[in-house]
Structure formats: structure tokens, C-alpha cells
């Protein structure tokens, strides 16, 4: 269809000398430049500039409405000596590490289950993506309500099963609160892992598994020696992508605990928000945010190198 319209397109202007601008666009370099300008302008204005601005902010002592003076690394020194910040760093690493392992494990399991033929597969696949599609803040409220100490349906369920005798204060105890937050993060992330890995699984030819089965390989052996190695490139990209998102997560903690109880569940982002926006200490907040950068940068580099390697193979 589109090919047939090609012939009917108006011919390029007959006298190229009278329209030099058009001719300029015939040059691939100029065309590329013109096509990239809008993207570059937006990304420079709202990513590169804020990034530079953030670095400048973090070495001054600005507050809201007060342009600061240069203070060197004082902000970084202050947050380094701040117990809450250290707790937030520790939390972020634990949060990212633990949830990534579970998201990968459960996501892979779900992907393997969905990679079979069964009735209603399309519907199940469509429905399990819901936690990933529905606005995180809104679905996290459903979880917060489920974890409510007085009205918790989870407490009710555990009590009915005979597992608990008294009410569990899910969000009131630091360790339990962190656990609850991780449950929500895993819940939200599993569909992404499952669907991405499922897409990867579907590119693996079933004949490989069948051949191995004929040769007498057990299901576990088939998974470990055939499926897993072939799935590894997709898995790597998905995991690295998820690590970045989880490491910089904000919404779930903000809604579930707001960093509490007693600042025990802060992550980088929520603590930066509390200091930078809540308290108005702009430069200290910017410093906390920027403290994420080295680790994120490292992950991005690993991801870039990995993609390069896969592409050039």
C-alpha cells in the first residue's frame, strides 16, 4: 500500500537553485541535524542543564528563596556524617538487592509458566501486567490499606490460618515496614520481568528442548543448560534496567511510610525529597540526590558495555 503511493508523490521541485533550503535537506548531515534539533533542545534544557545546576546547587548553601554562596564539599560532608542518610544508603542497597533477586526469581517462574499452552493464556497474560500499568501511587494505596494495623485483611487472613494470635503492626515496626515496602515493590516489578522474559523465552526454538528431552535430559537440566544460557542476554538487560529504577525509587516508600517510622525506611530519593522540598534545604537535598549518581553511572556503564558486546557478537 505504502509502496504504491511512492510513485504518486509530487516530484521534487524542478529548479533546485531557487529553493536552496530544500537542497540543504537533501544532504544527510543537514537533515539529521534538523531532525535532531527538537530532541536535543528539550534534553539539554531539562536534563543536561538541571544536571549541571544540581552540581552547582550541591556545592552552595541555597535554601528556597535564598541564593547560596559557595561552600565546597560541606553539604557532602554533612550528609556523610548524617545517621539518617547512612541508614537511607543502607536501605537503598538492601531494598534494591533483595527485591531484584525476588523479582527475577518470581518473574522467571511466571514467564516459564506462561510459556506453556493453556486455555485463557492471552487473558492471563493481559491481566498480570496490571500491577505494572496502573499508576504506582494508586495501587500502593491499596497495599497500604491492606497493611493497615487495625483493619488489615492480611492480619485477618493470617489469624484465620492460625499463624498469628495478635495484630501485626506492618508499617509501625522498622524491619516489618521495610519488608512490607519490598513486598509491594516485588509485586509491582514481577509483571515487567515476567513479560520481558516471556518475550525472550518465545525466541528460543522449542526444538532445542525437544531434542534434549529425547536425549534424556531432565526438565531441570534442560532449563539450566539450554533455556537459561539463551535467555541470559534478555535477563541481563532487564535486571540492569530494574536495578536503576529500584535504586532511584520514590513512590512506594513515599506512600507506604513516608520514610518512617522514625526515618527508618528512607531511600535516597525520599530522603532527598524530605530535605530538599520538605525542609527547603535545596542544596543539601540536591547533594543527596546526586549521591545516587556514581552507582547509577556504574550500572549504566555495565549495561552499555553489555549491549555493545551482545551487538558485536
Amino acid at each position: 500500500m505504502t509502496v504504491s503511493t511512492a510513485g504518486t508523490i509530487r516530484a521534487a521541485p524542478q529548479a533546485p537553485r531557487s529553493v536552496p533550503r530544500r537542497r540543504l535537506l537533501e544532504d544527510e548531515r543537514w537533515l539529521a541535524f534538523v531532525l535532531l534539533v527538537p530532541t536535543m533542545v528539550l534534553l539539554c534544557l531539562f536534563i543536561a542543564y538541571p544536571f549541571a545546576r544540581g552540581i552547582i546547587l550541591s556545592v552552595t548553601d541555597s535554601r528556597v528563596g535564598v541564593p547560596g554562596t559557595f561552600v565546597g564539599a560541606a553539604n557532602f560532608e554533612r550528609i556523610w556524617n548524617d545517621g539518617i542518610f547512612r541508614q537511607a544508603v543502607y536501605n537503598t542497597f538492601v531494598y534494591t538487592g533483595v527485591t531484584t533477586v525476588f523479582k527475577l526469581g518470581i518473574g522467571l517462574w511466571l514467564a516459564l509458566l506462561l510459556n506453556r499452552h493453556f486455555k485463557g493464556k492471552a487473558i492471563v497474560r493481559a491481566f498480570i501486567l496490571l500491577p505494572f500499568i496502573i499508576p504506582t501511587v494508586l495501587s500502593t494505596f491499596a497495599w497500604k490499606w491492606m497493611f493497615d494495623p487495625t483493619f488489615s485483611v492480611i492480619n485477618w487472613g493470617l489469624f484465620q490460618l492460625g499463624l498469628i494470635k495478635r495484630s501485626i503492626n506492618w508499617l509501625g515496626d522498622p524491619d516489618l515496614a521495610m519488608f512490607s515496602i519490598m513486598v509491594v515493590n516485588v509485586w509491582r516489578g514481577v509483571p515487567f520481568f515476567a513479560i520481558s522474559l516471556l518475550a525472550g523465552l518465545q525466541t528460543i526454538s522449542p526444538e532445542l528442548n525437544e531434542a534434549a528431552a529425547i536425549d534424556g535430559a531432565r526438565p531441570w537440566q534442560r532449563f539450566w543448560h539450554i533455556t537459561w544460557p539463551l535467555l541470559l542476554p534478555v535477563t541481563m538487560v532487564v535486571v540492569l534496567f530494574s536495578i536503576i529504577q529500584t535504586f532511584a525509587d520514590f513512590q512506594i516508600v513515599y506512600v507506604m511510610t513516608g520514610g518512617g517510622p522514625a526515618n527508618a525506611t528512607h531511600l535516597f530519593a525520599t530522603y532527598a525529597y524530605q530535605i530538599g522540598v520538605g525542609t527547603g534545604l535545596l542544596s543539601q537535598g540536591a547533594a543527596i540526590s546526586l549521591a545516587m549518581f556514581p552507582i547509577l553511572f556504574l550500572v549504566v556503564i555495565v549495561q552499555l558495555l553489555y549491549i555493545r558486546r551482545v551487538e558485536t557478537r
Binding site: T2, A6, I9, A11, A12, L25, E26, E28, R29, L31, A32, L35, P38, T39, L42, L45, F46, Y49, P50, F51, R53, G54, L57, L110, L113, F118, V124, A126, I128, L130, P131, F132, I134, P135, T136, V137, A142, F151, W156, G157, F159, S167, W187, A199, V237, I244, F247, A248, F250, F268, A269, A272, Y273, V277, A286, S289, L290, L296, Q303, L304
Partner: protein, 283 residues
């Protein structure tokens, strides 16, 4: 394909799948049931004898009415829709053009520009929100929809570009060359030949971008302050919680209604959404 007895099918397949699906969907059921449950039942402690968690005998619209009468939920929905559509449109235009340039044109620094855009794709919003809030204020965009319409493309464009590059690469060069031989200009070949062929990719990118901007939270939280400018996620958080009093009924009703537009878009274009999702990580 599980060999052997029926019990194996149950243990290795049906039960785990059923359990996982239940876990993934239960919160939505809980949202729904809370949204229609009268307050008297809602605030009944879990260990009360008449606690009936999974159903209600007298469903009510009171929470939905509260949402529309006591808050400006309709305005939030409208704001979110306008912002999501506008930022998606901007991102699609920029992303398609940039994706075309990066995948089909030869020019100096093409590779490093592509890498640069990929890196911005991985920049999380939480890294830059504080300096960005200051910049928004300096441009006098604070508390207007423009604050979000212009900043959402920063995480949507890299994604759209990345996805479109994949689609454009798959289109054979000959298609364009045919048009060129027939006398089409370079840009005409792009606009009338290559872009129409890549339409499924554009649809995927658009749907994914729409859901991403509908879900965005931290920029909307920081850049908007007056209630009538807010988006659904921020409005629900700031207006339905007073101090430490949570209006759970309206909150859940708002969560449910606020999810409907994305759910509708998603249900119509599941395949495109999945293509966008998997394309976003495969590259």
C-alpha cells in the same frame, strides 16, 4: 508440557500460576470492594466477629459521590489527560524524527549521540527533581501544566527514540531508494514512505508513553501546588489525606477511577503495549 500424572499438572503448573495471579490481582479486587463498602463496615477492626473482608451486603456509591462533590476529582482527571496527551504527542514527534536520523542517516557523531540518548533514557526522575524544580520556577512555569508537559518528554523522548530506532532499522533501505528514484525528496521519502511503515512502532511508543506520563508522580508532586492544577495521583495523595486521617473509601474509589483511562487504553492495545514494553528493554 508436563509429563505424567494429573497431580503433577496441578502441583507444577495450575497451583503456582493460580497463586501468582491471585497475588498480582488481589489488590485491585481490594480497591474495588473498598470503594463500594459503606464506612460502617470499612472501619470495623479485622478481629471483630462480623468482619467480612471479601464481600459487602450493602454496596454504596457514597465514596464516588464524595470524590466528585467534595474534591475536584474531575479536574484532576482532565489535567492528567491533557498533560499525558500533550507530552506524549511532543515525545512522539521528537522521538520519531530523532529515531529516524539516528538509525537511517549517516552523519558525524551519530554513534555517540545515540549513546547519549540511551544514557538519558536511564536517568531516573529522582536524580534531577530538585534542580529541575528550581529551573521550572525560574522559567515561571511552576504550578502550570507546562511544567509537566515540557519535562515529561525528558524521560519519554529517549524511550520513544530508542524504540523507533529498532523499528526503523528493520525497514529495508530499498523502499526509500525506490521513492527517491521516483523523484521524492529525502524528507518526503521519510515522511511518506518510512514513517507510515513504522506506524505500529509509533503506536506502541505512544501507548507506552501515555501510560508512563499518566503514572508519573514525583515531578507532578514537586512542580504543582494549587489543587486545581494537580494530576490524579498527586491530587488523591494531597487532598484525601488530612494529617494522618485517611479517607479510605474515597481514596480507593479515586485510585480505581484514576486507573480506568490507562486500563482502557491498555485493554485496547495489549499487543502494542507488550511490544513497547519488550522493545524498551531489548533495543
Amino acid at each position: 508440557m508436563i509429563e505424567g500424572a494429573a497431580w503433577r499438572r496441578w502441583v507444577y503448573f495450575r497451583l503456582p500460576l493460580g497463586f501468582l495471579v491471585l497475588w498480582l490481582l488481589f489488590p485491585f479486587y481490594w480497591m474495588l470492594i473498598t470503594a463500594v463498602r459503606p464506612d460502617g463496615e470499612l472501619y470495623r477492626p479485622w478481629n471483630a466477629t462480623n468482619y467480612t473482608p471479601f464481600w459487602t451486603t450493602n454496596p454504596t456509591w457514597a465514596h464516588v459521590e464524595y470524590l466528585f462533590e467534595e474534591t475536584i476529582f474531575g479536574t484532576w482527571m482532565w489535567n492528567t489527560m491533557v498533560i499525558a496527551l500533550a507530552s506524549t504527542a511532543i515525545s512522539l514527534v521528537c522521538g520519531v524524527l530523532a529515531g529516524y536520523a539516528l538509525s537511517r542517516l549517516k552523519f558525524p557523531f551519530a554513534g555517540s549521540l545515540g549513546t547519549g540518548i540511551f544514557i538519558t533514557y536511564l536517568v531516573p526522575q529522582t536524580l534531577l527533581f530538585i534542580p529541575l524544580a528550581e529551573i521550572i520556577r525560574n522559567y515561571r512555569l511552576g504550578d502550570t501544566p507546562w511544567a509537566l508537559i515540557l519535562t515529561y518528554p525528558t524521560f519519554l523522548i529517549p524511550f520513544c527514540t530508542w524504540l523507533m530506532m529498532g523499528y526503523f532499522k528493520a525497514i529495508p533501505k530499498e523502499l526509500e531508494e525506490c521513492a527517491r528514484i521516483d523523484g521524492a525528496a529525502r524528507w518526503q521519502a521519510m515522511l511518506y514512505i518510512v514513517i507510515p511503515v513504522a506506524l505500529p512502532g509509533i503506536l506502541s511508543a505512544g501507548i507506552f508513553a501515555f501510560t508512563l506520563s499518566w503514572n508519573e508522580f514525583i515531578y507532578a508532586l514537586v512542580f504543582l501546588s494549587s489543587p486545581e492544577q494537580k494530576t490524579v495521583p498527586v491530587g488523591v495523595v494531597s487532598e484525601l489525606i488530612r494529617g494522618d486521617v485517611f479517607f479510605w473509601g474515597p481514596l480507593m474509589a479515586g485510585a480505581l477511577l484514576g486507573s480506568i483511562p490507562v486500563a482502557i487504553v491498555y485493554s485496547f492495545f495489549v499487543e502494542h503495549y507488550v511490544a513497547g514494553l519488550t522493545g524498551s528493554v531489548k533495543g
